[in-house]
Amino acid sequence: MLGLAQRWLKGAFVLSHPEKGTDIMGIFSFISGRKKPTPSELAKERLKVVLVQDRIKVNPELLELIKSDLLTAISRRLDIDEQHVEIRMSREDRWDKLQAEVPIKRQKISFEWDPPAHTTAVTGLRGKVTVEVEKDDGVE
C-alpha cells in the first residue's frame, strides 16, 4: 500500500520536477524503509560491471590467479586473513581499477633485511637479518 502511494507520488513529482526527481525519490524510499532499484538503475549497474570485464578481458579465472599471486606476495610480509581476501574489478569514469581488500590478522610484520654492501655498517649488522615488529593489539 505504501509502495503504491510512493510510486504514485514519485511519478507526480518527477512529472512536475524532472530535475528534483532523484532527491524526492530518496526521501520516499527513506520513509518506506527500502529502496528497490528501477529497471533503468539495474541496467546501468549491470552494464558497469559487464563493461569492466569486457574492456580488460579479466575473467574470473584470471582474477583467481591474480588473487593467489597477491596472497603469496603479501603473506610473506604480513599475516593476512586469506579466507576474507576480496579482489574485484571496478570502474570510475573511464578508468578501470583492480581493487583488493586484504584483511590483516595480526599486527605482526616480519621482513628480512639484507643491507647492500655500500651501506655503512652503523649497527654493525651484516648479512640477512630477520626483523619482527609486533604491535600490541590491546592498545587502540
Binding site: 528501477t38 529497471p39 533503468s40 541496467a43 546501468k44 549491470r46 569486457d54
Partner: protein
C-alpha cells in the same frame, strides 16, 4: 581539401545505422553540402531502399573497387536532392570482397568529389566494420538505451581507439521518454556516464521512421516528425553549429502537439532548412 569522411557504426545490428546514415546524409545535402552516402554492408544492401533508390542501381562499390566501372558510373544521384549521391553495396558478393587498402583508396577518391562522405558500416566487428572505419576522419556510434546495444557500443569505442581514430561521438537512438520517466529505461545521462563519450544527438522513438522507410523517403523531410528534427539537428552539429541538446527530451506542449496534429505552423526544422 577539407572534405570529411564520417562512418556510422554500432556493433549491434538493428539499432538504426542505416536510418541514421540516410538521414544525416540527406540533412547535410539539405544544407547545400555535396554528400556521398556509402553502403559498406556488402551482401546486405539496404541504404538504397531507405533512400528510395533501389531501382536505379547499375554498378556497386565492389565494381568500383575492382575496376569494373568508374566511380562516377556507380554513384546514383538522389531523386530529390542533386547534391546527394549514393554508392550502393554489392548484393551478390561475399562480405570479404573488399580489403582495407581498397576501401581507403575509395575514400580518397570520394573526398575529391564531395564535402561529406557518410559511410554506413555493417553490424559486427569483423573485416566489414574495419573496412568501414579505415578511411574515416570521424566515427559516429549509434546506440539504443538498452544493455546489449550500449555494451556493443563500448566495445566499438575500444576498437575505434585501437585503430588510432579520434574518440567517436554518440547518437542515442530510439529513446522513449515516457519509459525513462517511469525509470524503466536508461536516460541519456546514464548511457553517457557508462560510455564516457560526447553526445552528438538524441533521437526519440518514432513510428514515422517505419512509414518513411516504407515510402523510401528519409524522415528529415517530414517537418512534423521529432525524429526527423533530431537528425537535422545532429547534422547541423556535425557542421559545427551550436544547437542545444535538450530539445528532444522535452515533451512537446499541448499547443505544439495540437499544432502538429492539425499540420500547420512552420516546424522548427522547416525554418532551419529554409534559412
Amino acid at each position: 581539401m577539407d572534405s570529411r569522411v564520417i562512418t556510422i557504426t554500432s556493433g549491434k545490428g538493428g539499432v538504426g545505422k542505416t536510418t541514421t546514415t540516410a538521414n544525416i546524409g540527406t540533412a547535410l545535402a539539405l544544407q547545400g553540402k555535396r554528400v556521398a552516402v556509402v553502403d559498406s554492408d556488402i551482401g546486405l544492401r539496404n541504404l538504397d531502399a531507405v533512400l528510395g533508390l533501389e531501382n536505379r542501381i547499375v554498378y556497386d562499390l565492389v565494381d568500383v573497387v575492382e575496376g569494373q566501372c568508374r566511380l562516377r558510373q556507380a554513384l546514383i544521384k538522389d531523386k530529390r536532392l542533386p547534391e546527394l549521391h549514393l554508392l550502393p553495396a554489392a548484393q551478390t558478393r561475399d562480405k570479404n570482397a573488399v580489403n582495407s587498402v581498397q576501401m581507403e583508396q575509395l575514400c580518397q577518391q570520394l573526398r575529391a568529389e564531395f564535402d561529406f562522405v557518410v559511410i554506413d558500416s555493417p553490424a559486427g566487428i569483423e573485416q566489414g566494420f574495419r573496412n568501414a572505419i579505415v578511411g574515416a576522419d570521424e566515427i559516429i556510434i549509434v546506440a539504443n538505451p538498452e544493455m546489449a546495444s550500449v555494451r556493443d557500443a563500448d566495445r566499438i569505442i575500444g576498437l575505434v581507439e585501437a585503430a588510432g581514430k579520434p574518440e567517436p561521438r554518440l547518437i542515442l537512438n530510439r529513446l522513449r521518454s515516457e519509459m525513462v520517466k517511469r525509470g524503466d529505461m536508461m536516460d541519456v545521462a546514464d548511457v553517457l556516464e557508462v560510455l564516457g563519450i560526447d553526445l552528438l544527438g538524441i533521437v526519440p522513438e518514432d513510428e514515422m521512421i517505419i512509414v518513411a522507410t516504407n515510402k523510401g523517403e528519409p524522415i528529415v523531410y517530414d517537418k512534423r516528425s521529432r525524429a526527423g528534427r533530431s537528425f537535422l539537428n545532429a547534422a547541423q552539429r556535425i557542421m559545427g553549429e551550436e544547437i542545444p541538446l535538450d530539445e528532444v527530451t522535452e515533451v512537446p506542449s499541448l499547443l505544439e502537439r495540437l499544432r502538429r496534429f492539425v499540420g500547420f505552423g512552420p516546424a522548427l526544422a522547416e525554418r532551419r532548412v529554409r534559412s
